[in-house]
Symmetry: C2
Subunit: 394 residues, 2 copies
């Protein structure tokens, strides 16, 4: 089971000297510590006191306004839609699931899919149907067939179109429109998780990240979720969702019973970070850092990996997704890599049905630059060993 | 419905000049702003970076240790029990409800009961049975009868034995033991919500706040919940639960799917607050502030209230609970008070069945000292008017 792989990993990856491509989190050295220090030392007394107090369930009003402006710049029109601030976008996914899903209901998800979302869907005992993705986005034909073959109407389709976790891909414009065509009029809600959209490597990619929710002329109800975890720090536990008024109202009631409201302290810091103009320069810095890390990873992969192993070339985000020859099993590879001092996350972890296991996810976001080549070298050697054994058996 | 009363109140209580006995929250001027500033300016760089990062679902390990020590000082033995850090004790209640309650299951609660907990129980579509409380604690005879009359075994009993919200009472030693006697061997879990236990007015009261979970020799599974909302600030969204290993493990899985973990930033600040010895002096300050506020309220109530209105004399916490003559309806009183510029929360808000309405809750925690007498004066006048009208009708 994929959760066992994660447990094994968690136990081992804290070992000294281990090179970890496993953790899908920012590197501690990249956080905007200086900027937050500056904000903290310049807060007025009244705002400081507000940090300690309860706030509205929907969110700290100035942060809600800042988020509205951010989303409008991404092309989202907010005339009737409403923002709910959450403790990370995972809470948004959890609230949406609680709002729509009862035990046995069907959820459509990408295969592979963000494992945090899969855990939420499993907690609410949904039946998860995985739809394959390729390097352009979700497989439209497979999606159509899945919908046609189901006897139950799926409650929603959950996707991560920008710099997918784990597959690293970005949906093409054509695939976004084709997806909207398929969903139009079906009453299947689309959940668009955009945790990584700001983290493109190249400005030319920026227009491709435009939210699907911003596309007009389709009859699809879209809930858009965003997060501060990748652009400020997961320790803030801040995310948000944008939805119709009707979905918002029920979500707000659920949030009220989950934790009353999100920390005012964290919301105020995040809002000051945006309002004082720290976000854009910080994003520029992150884009440069992550693209440099990926460049290093890419050249190392090219240099060391044997033939038969391929990978996507991500245009942003945290992840490279390696495809192994069918004969190699990522879980058995993982065990040997661990003993050699390098780890990753196995492909089946992200498979809603825990089957496909000839992929592995390499996260470069958390990796010190000078460890990348060594990690790839160790990984490549173990892959070569596995290929050799396989060829001997055959 | 009680939720309508709350909405009406929320809309109105932000009006200028309104004297509000409604809000069950600390006053902005009491927060430990200076201490937190000091902590922030003295954090090491490594700890600062940790603030921005993900942490374990169960909680930031140094905070978990600090909490263990705090609870041990209260007499709790933690040999096999485990701590889970949550975003406020409301999240703990929500997690516990998700762990044990399916639609239609029975929950026992006090009548009156903390309205936040009632909202959670309603969200999970539980059947809530209210057991009356008096000035000593829960009505033991009523509890026995309720259990005997039920065809379904209740999943748990939820109580707030220390400085009850809204009733302000503290359970006596005898009542605590009698409660444990009744629950022993029934397999009904006891949830002990101790959000206010540290806020006694007089040191003599301290021993009476000993957690029920610390009592030995009874066969009752007790989950103990605590909160930083009343002793540091609700804006931190920090609480915790202490339970058996088995209950903890399921709760941790639920928490994982709700929001992955609680903010490291807030946990680190709270832990530093405890470790650097700021908590105890701050509690001394709060106890003095709240007891002074209650003294002012008490003398004003004695001076202005007409005969026939009685109230508990709280030994700690945030609340006084006024009992009106049966002929007066708190909701209609509320409307007239609102037009006179003073508000409170009506009794039926806290009744699981939204029936009993001859009580009102006066919260003194959030009230500037110099507004207390004026607020009571206005309230007393409206009560007198209502009594006059009633006597004319009769």
């Amino acid at each position: 089971m994929h959760s066992e792989d994660i447990k094994l990993l968690m136990k081992q990856s804290s070992k000294d000297g281990l090179i970890s491509f496993a953790a899908g989190m920012p590197n501690n050295d990249l956080f905007p510590v200086k900027e937050i220090d500056e904000i903290l030392s310049n807060l007025s007394d009244d705002i400081k006191k507000l940090c300690f107090q309860y706030g509205p369930t929907s969110g700290y009003p100035p942060l809600v306004k800042s988020l509205q402006k951010m989303m409008e710049r991404k092309g989202l029109k907010l005339s009737t839609d409403k923002v709910l601030v959450t403790t990370g976008s995972l809470q948004a996914i959890s609230i949406i699931t609680q709002e729509f899903v009862n035990e046995g209901d069907v959820i459509l998800a990408e295969c592979p899919c963000f494992v945090g979302a899969l855990s939420v869907f499993e907690t609410y005992r949904a039946k998860i149907i995985g739809i394959p993705i390729d390097d352009q986005g979700i497989d439209i034909q497979a999606l159509k067939e899945a919908i046609a073959n189901l006897t139950q109407k799926p409650k929603f389709l959950y996707i991560t179109p920008n710099f997918h976790n784990p597959a690293g891909i970005i949906y093409t414009e054509e695939r976004r429109r084709a997806l909207l065509e398929v969903l139009s009029g079906t009453d299947i809600i689309l959940i668009e998780d955009d945790a990584y959209g700001d983290l493109y490597f190249d400005d030319k990619t920026a227009p491709l990240t435009r939210p699907i929710k911003a596309y007009k002329g389709y009859d699809v109800d879209i809930i858009y979720t965003g997060s501060f975890s990748k652009i400020l720090g997961p320790g803030f536990r801040l995310g948000y969702m944008l939805s119709s008024q009707e979905i918002f109202e029920k979500a707000e009631t659920i949030k009220q019973a989950l934790d009353a409201c999100t920390s005012n302290f964290m919301q105020i810091l995040a809002n000051e970070f945006i309002e004082r103009g720290y976000l854009e320069p910080y994003l520029l810095f992150l884009r440069k850092e992550y693209s440099e890390r990926y460049e290093l990873l890419h050249s190392s992969l090219k240099k060391h990996l044997p033939k038969g192993v391929s990978w996507n070339v991500p245009k942003g985000g945290f992840y490279a997704w390696l495809k192994l020859p069918e004969s190699i099993n990522a879980t058995s590879l993982f065990k040997d890599c661990l003993s050699q001092g390098v780890v990753f996350v196995t492909g089946r972890t992200f498979d809603p049905e825990s089957r496909k296991d000839n992929h592995l996810r390499l996260s470069f976001s958390n990796m010190p630059k000078d460890s990348i080549e060594k990690g790839v070298f160790l990984l490549a050697n173990v892959i070569k060993e596995h290929l050799k054994i396989k060829s001997l058996i055959i």
